[in-house]
Structures are given as structure tokens and as C-alpha cells.
Subunit: 480 residues, 2 copies
């Protein structure tokens, strides 16, 4: 493979350029004609499909259902909850015309669907018997991005799911918030092999309109944090303006308790950054569109049939276990080209088979994570490959946990804080709980509170900024 | 169930009102706050999910992949193929602002994605080695509807899939057009139990920009035709303006051959109209969100446990066969209320169990299609229910075929044509092939050529309008 085709940047030298090359050259996505928008190519979309299926099954198993909401929301409806509206309005796309006709009440393209969903829920919910309502929507959200486009991380339209639930009691709604966050964590850790820290956002960083926001956060190799998903307790903040109420068992009209939550394709961005290397993408087997690629090696026509037959036999054995296997039988490129091509595309495991291997009754395996080679006898095909894929999944997760540990530091002194933040880190530091101190940190270091971990202790006595009594430890970082 | 809650219109008296009531009261969909837009409730969305899964599996099995395209398309790009653009422009929604900023090149909300997809394909395709490209997109299309909203049939945003393929030869592309149409037909006939007639559209009715359009058409109980899906041969009509070309094996730059095709949620509209009755929805088992509902019947607390335990046992047996079963254990409504409720929602099969049934070792089955009752011994649970669901699916399909036969007539005299068309029918009539005659028929009767069946014979000598030599038989009807 020529230099021009492969990844020409180093991950630890020009992280941003490396990222863009991986996205484009591994055929995950491409830039659309409008600034801020991207197209997902099948290889990239397939990762989203795996992730979606895994989460969808978990949602359905816990009584959630899917629905559909239109993308157009009238301005008059969107502005009913004023904080919420003010939070989104600078980035809303507005439809003003259909054909030649001007539209009176401008239509927003969905920045998020709280307003629309709750105006519907208000019609549907009459009694406690209609509750809980737990509906999820797989769609896209649109928020105009003024900064440079970054596929999966900063785009004006993004694939996501948004869940919107309604409950009779505060307790039930708060339980839902946590159930979803745990489901997200499980999905991200098990499917994407990325460890996350869960907890609450500070009031400054919470979702506009929420009582509080819970979040899962991860740290990228460049030391910047990435918000991986959020689950919001809305209390009655939306049920009141949108009139979502029910008759309780005593026949008393009561405002409902609500939650909303979402994850987006930025999870694919995290996947690329965390696991990728200088050769390109490295995909965890559970979400890889192709889990194993077979590269047949032959130099004479008579060997060709022998090798391709064996490749097909192996593919069929693995297909019975629902493994996604591809035989690269292109004859216009060399085996060496194919090795580099599939390494760039992050296929977790490569099988090489030539006539000599067949004579010895074995194939050669090359793991994408370590690039280590080993032999596998044909008789062990099923177990050997399934075990190795599991081991790759697990190893990637362990590597990502090491990264998280490396980048995580406990700091109580503000001068050290500033130095460490320059390097890029998740800094656990004591905080008094005041927004002023949060703002001081933001102004001086560019870092926010990413998350106040659920298991945070208040082990230090003084806020890292103001030296007043601290109320908790928070995790500070710069972020995407 | 009170009159107000059930369906209060008769299907054969006020078809339109009946349809709307079924959609709303069976909780399939509801009107969104913007005219022309609807929301899909989980019960309605689940039908779409079943249909989607069935088609998606067939597409993947034939080498199609899914991708994602943004909803925003610049006006300058959309207008590159001028006939195509002119066809859609009166109904396009235009985004003119993001936040407070005016956008120079207005952005259209996707009316269909030929322009956008092909501008990307033009970048991705270099050589014959990159072909075929067969990508499908599950998304929504937006076309402003000025007429009254009709859920699933006439809405300004609708769920659909659009496939866009690129081939090296005309032959391969034309084969793809037919392969897809056959896949659509199979899906609609097997899943939705609706027979369709396949063939070509006339030039007047074809997709704007296509060389020709193939279609599947069905007839509704009110005698109006419904277009159920189309598959277009685009030839090189788009590859030229959008510059989709490749180096062939002789290294000669060649414009590619293309197809596009789609089905939408109007299939759900057809399902409602074809199978529904005065009691409400009737769902074919294969797409029913709930295939079997169990209504436990008891009047004393001691019976309650006995009956609910049995219901759970039956549910578990059926769940092993991946059947979707629901136990209606609500205690605030009577069994009679439940019967009517689930009949309105179209659940294909109801199981009633009371203490007396248990004593006799059997349950009572009530089929939704015929409302016939029968007993099923507990020992036969699995086979009995699976067979009955299969029989319901088959019976619905047979009934729909009868409807199609009834409404189909062969007419060669224009006076009879006019009389028959008043009643609503699929009229097979001889046609000379000229657009003038098509237009005369449209003006005098409101009917178009819906489809020129693939197996159409030219058995009559004279065009039904102009009396000149006929070239084919076409099917005429008024339509949705």
C-alpha cells in the first residue's frame, strides 16, 4: 500500500490530522457538500447498527418502546419552556418556506424533542393507568455547528437516540434515570471496550431545563474528556409548561415526573480515538462490521482453488456461529496490500492461508491489537477463533482502562492542577460547590467539571480554588 | 367499551372517517402540532419495525448495505438534474437561517436523495473495481403536502427507505431494478398479506429523471389504487450531471448505470384499509406487535392465581417460539371491555381462560379475522396456536386476493369504462401508448394509468379512447 493510501500521520504527533485520516481512509464517513455535515459510508454505519441493536435490545427488555416524531417543531411550541429554548436557539436551523410559500410560525429542525414529545404525551396521558410511558426515538438531532467539522464529534446533524419517559412518582423517575445510565455504561464497556466514569453534572453543566443531569465520561488519548451519554431527571420542569398530568389513584390531578436521555454517534468518535493506532482503526470484535478477514495466499492457478476452497470452508464454519467473516479474493492486489488495507480498516483478526499452511493443517492468525502472529490448527478453528476474538475484546478494554488510570490524577494544589491540565488529564480535585470557582477554573485553565462521580468522597477539606470548605471531589478536564 | 371509545363509523359507509378513527383509536399514530405531520405511537411504529426488519434482511442477503445521508441538501446541488429538480421544487421545505444567521445557498430538506447520494458516489467511485455500489438508506423524506393530512398516506414527512445503486452495465442495473421490485412484492405479500400487481409506469407517471419506473400497485376497498413501492431504472440520466463515472477494464472512462427504489410507511396505510373491519384494525400475525393476547377470566381472588398462573405458563411456552404474547391482567376493566379493546387494536388471536376452562384442560381461542371461537386443549398449545396464526395470515391474504379480483375488470368500451370507474375499480383496458389518450382519461374520469403489468397482453385491437391500434393493456384507476 502506498503512503498516500495508508495513514500518513502519527497518532501521538498530530492527533487531529490522524483522526481525520482514519475516518476518511477507513471509509467510515465523508464530508457532505454542506459545511458541518457528514455522510456515513456503509462501513461506518454498520458500527452504528451494531451499537443500536445492542442498546435497543436492552431497552426493549426493560419495557421501553420505540416511536417516531417528525423533525419539524413550531417555534411557538419550542419556546414554551423558556430556559430550554434559550439554550438551543442560537444553533437552531429554521425552515421558513415550503415551495414558494412563507410559513407563519417558523419551523425548527429538531435540536432535541422534549417540547414535541411532551405536547403529545399531554394528549395521551389521562390517568395513572396510562403510566409509565417509556418511549425511545432513534433519529437525528440538528444543531448548527460554527466550528470546523469533526466527524462524529462536531457535526450539525448527528445520529442519536433520545428517550422520553413519564412516571407517577419522583422516585420511579429517578430510578429510571439511573437504570438508563447503567444500561449505557454496560453497552459502552461491553460493546465498545471503553471504560467510563458515571456521576452527576454540576448545575452549570446540566441539560437546560433539567433538575439534574447524570453523565458518563471518558478520557481520550490527547487528555481531553468526551461526554459519552447523559440521562436527565427533569422533575416536573417540563410537565408543568407542557401540561403532562394525570389523575392519580385518589382521582387528584397531578403533574407527572419525567426523564430524558440520549447517546449519539460520538461514541464512534471515542472508539476511533481510544483504540486506533498509527496503522489506522482498531475495532473491538463486538461492533466490527467484519470480525475476521481471510486473506488467501497463492501464486499459481492450481493453488488458487485449493486455498479458496479452504477459505470458504473456514468461513462457513465461523458463519454458523454468526461471526462476520470476509474472504478477500481480489486478484488485482497483492496479499501485502490486503494486510495493510484491513489493518487500516481495523478488522480485529486476520487469517492467512497458503498452500504450505494447508499442507501443515493450520492457518496463520494475526491479531489487529498487538499484530502478533500465531498458528491455529484447522481442527481448532471454532474455539481458537472465538476465544481469540473474545481475548481481543477484553485486551482492548484492559488497554483502555490503563489509559484512563494513567490520565487520572488526584490534585489538591491549584498550581499543580494548572501544570497537569496543560498535559491533558482527568483531575480529581476538591470543590466547594460554588459556580464561581467552576468559572475561575474554566477561565484560567479551559477545564470544566466533567462529572461528580457517584462514589466521590469529600476526603480533602478545602476547595482547590477558594480554600473554603469543600463539599465533594469533582473531575475536571478540558473536553470535546 | 363505550361507543365513544370504539370505532363509531362503518367501513363501507364512511371509509375516510372509519380510517382516521382506526388510526387514532388503535394508537397507531396521532397528529403532530404542524399540519401535515404525524407522530407514530409505539403500536404503529412496531409494525414499521417488523416490516423494516424483514426487508432489511432481504437487502443484506443480496449484498446491499445501509448508510446515512444528512437531511440538508444545498439548492445548488439539488438543481443539477433539472427535470428532477422541477418535479420536486413546489413541495420542498427550505431552511434559510441557522440561529440568527441567514444561509446563502438555501438548504432543502431531503425530498429524496438522488442528488446528494450521487455527488458522494462521484467521489467514491474511480474504477470498475469499486462497483457495484448498493447502498440503502432508512430515513424520512419531506415533501410539503397542501391537501388535508391523511396518516400514512398523505403527510409532509414520511418514513421510508431509499436505495441507490451503481453498476458497470445497463443489463446489471436493469436486473437490479427487477430484483428489488420482486423483493418488495415478496415482502408485501408475505408480511402484510396484500397482493400486488407489478409492471411499468407510463412515461407520464414515471419518476422525474428516470428512464423508466417499475411499480407495484394494489387496490383499496373503496376502489382507489395505492402505489405500494417503486423501483426506477435511471440509466445514465443522473450519472452524467453528477459525474458518476468509472474506469472500465480497458481503462476507458465510462458513465455508470444507476437505479433507485423505495417503499414507505404508506404500506401501513394499505394494511389498515385492506384488512380492517367495523370493529377496527385487523393485523396479519407476521407484523402484529402483539400476535396473541391472553385475557384471564376470574371473579374470585382464589381463581385469580389459578388463571394467571396458567396464562403465564402459556405465554412462556409461546415465547420459546418467539411469538409476541401479552397477558392483559388489568383489574380495572371487565373481560368484555378487553375483548373489544384488543379487537379494535387488531390482535390476530385472543386466548380466553377461566377456571372452568382449566378444569376441562383447554383454552378458548377467538380469531380476529372471522371472530370464530374454538377450544384448544392445553396439550396442543404450541401447534394449535402456531397453526392458527399461520392460517390467519393465509386467510387474510386470500381475502385480499378476492378483493383484488372483485375490483378488477377488463373493459374495452369507454362508456362502460366511465360507469365502472365511478364505482372504483382496477380497469384493464387497451391503450395506444399516447400520452394524449392518458390525459383524456384523466380529465374525463380522474383515473391514471397505474401500471402496465409485466404480463400485459395486447389482446384487443383498439385503444379505448382514440380507437387507433392499441399497443398494450394498461390498468387504469383513481388513486391515493
Amino acid at each position: 500500500m502506498s503512503k498516500e493510501i495508508g495513514i500518513t500521520s502519527k497518532k501521538n504527533e498530530d492527533f487531529s490530522e490522524w483522526y481525520t485520516q482514519v475516518v476518511l481512509k477507513a471509509h467510515l464517513a465523508d464530508y457532505a457538500p454542506v459545511k458541518g455535515l457528514i455522510v456515513l459510508r456503509p462501513y461506518g454505519y454498520s458500527i452504528w447498527e451494531s451499537l443500536k441493536l445492542s442498546l435497543d435490545q436492552k431497552l426493549k427488555a426493560t419495557g421501553h418502546e420505540n416511536g417516531f416524531l417528525p423533525v419539524l417543531i413550531p417555534e411557538s411550541l419550542l419556546s414554551k419552556e423558556s430556559d430550554h429554548f434559550a439554550g438551543f436557539t442560537p444553533e437552531v436551523f429554521w425552515v421558513t418556506h415550503s415551495g414558494e410559500t412563507e410559513i407563519g410560525d417558523r419551523l425548527a429542525l429538531r435540536p432535541t424533542s422534549e417540547a414535541l414529545a411532551y405536547s403529545m404525551y399531554s394528549k395521551w396521558i389521562k390517568s395513572w393507568r396510562d403510566l409509565p410511558v417509556k418511549i425511545n426515538f432513534w433519529n437525528t438531532a440538528l444543531r448548527a455547528e460554527i466550528k470546523a467539522t469533526k466527524p462524529f464529534l462536531r457535526t450539525s446533524e448527528f445520529l442519536w437516540q433520545e428517550g422520553h419517559t413519564v412516571h407517577t412518582t419522583r422516585e420511579e423517575a429517578e430510578k429510571e434515570v439511573i437504570e438508563i445510565l447503567e444500561m449505557y455504561k454496560k453497552t459502552v464497556e461491553e460493546e465498545l471496550a471503553i471504560p467510563v466514569i458515571t456521576g452527576r453534572k454540576s448545575d452549570k453543566e446540566k441539560f437546560v431545563g433539567a433538575v439534574y443531569t447524570t453523565t458518563m465520561e471518558s478520557i481520550m488519548p490527547d487528555g481531553k474528556a468526551l461526554q459519552m451519554g447523559t440521562s436527565h431527571f427533569l422533575g416536573q420542569n417540563f410537565s408543568k409548561p407542557f401540561d403532562v398530568k394525570f389523575l392519580d389513584k385518589q382521582n387528584v390531578e397531578t403533574f407527572a415526573w419525567q426523564t430524558s436521555w440520549g447517546v449519539s454517534w460520538r461514541l464512534i468518535g471515542a472508539l476511533i480515538m481510544i483504540h486506533g493506532d498509527d496503522k489506522g482503526l482498531v475495532l473491538p470484535p463486538r461492533v466490527a462490521p467484519i470480525q475476521t478477514v481471510i486473506v488467501p495466499i497463492y501464486y499459481s492457478p492450481s493453488d488458487m482453488k485449493l486455498v479458496l476452497d479452504k477459505a470458504t470452508e473456514i468461513k462457513e464454519i465461523l458463519a454458523k456461529h454468526n461471526l462476520r467473516v470476509h474472504i478477500d479474493s481480489r486478484d488485482e492486489v497483492t496479499p501485502g496490500y490486503k494486510f495493510h488495507d484491513w489493518e487500516m480498516k481495523g478488522v480485529p483478526l486476520r487469517i492467512e492461508i497458503g498452500p504450505k499452511d494447508i499442507a501443515k493443517g493450520k492457518m496463520v492468525l494475526v491479531r489487529r491489537d498487538s499484530l502478533k502472529k500465531s498458528d491455529l490448527p484447522f481442527v481448532d478453528t471454532e474455539n481458537g477463533i472465538i476465544n481469540m476474538l473474545n481475548d481481543i475484546q477484553q485486551t482492548l478494554f484492559e488497554n483502555a482502562k490503563s489509559l484512563l488510570r494513567e490520565k487520572t490524577k488526584h490534585v489538591t494544589d491549584f498550581e499543580i492542577f494548572k501544570t497537569e491540565m496543560e498535559k491533558g488529564a482527568f483531575l480529581h480535585s476538591p470543590w466547594c460547590g460554588k459556580q464561581e470557582c467552576e468559572e475561575t477554573i474554566k477561565e484560567t485553565t479551559g477545564a470544566d467539571i466533567r462529572v461528580i462521580p457517584f462514589d466521590a468522597k469529600n476526603s480533602d477539606s478545602k476547595c482547590i480554588i477558594c480554600n473554603n470548605a469543600s463539599t465533594t471531589t469533582a473531575i475536571f478536564a478540558r473536553s470535546y
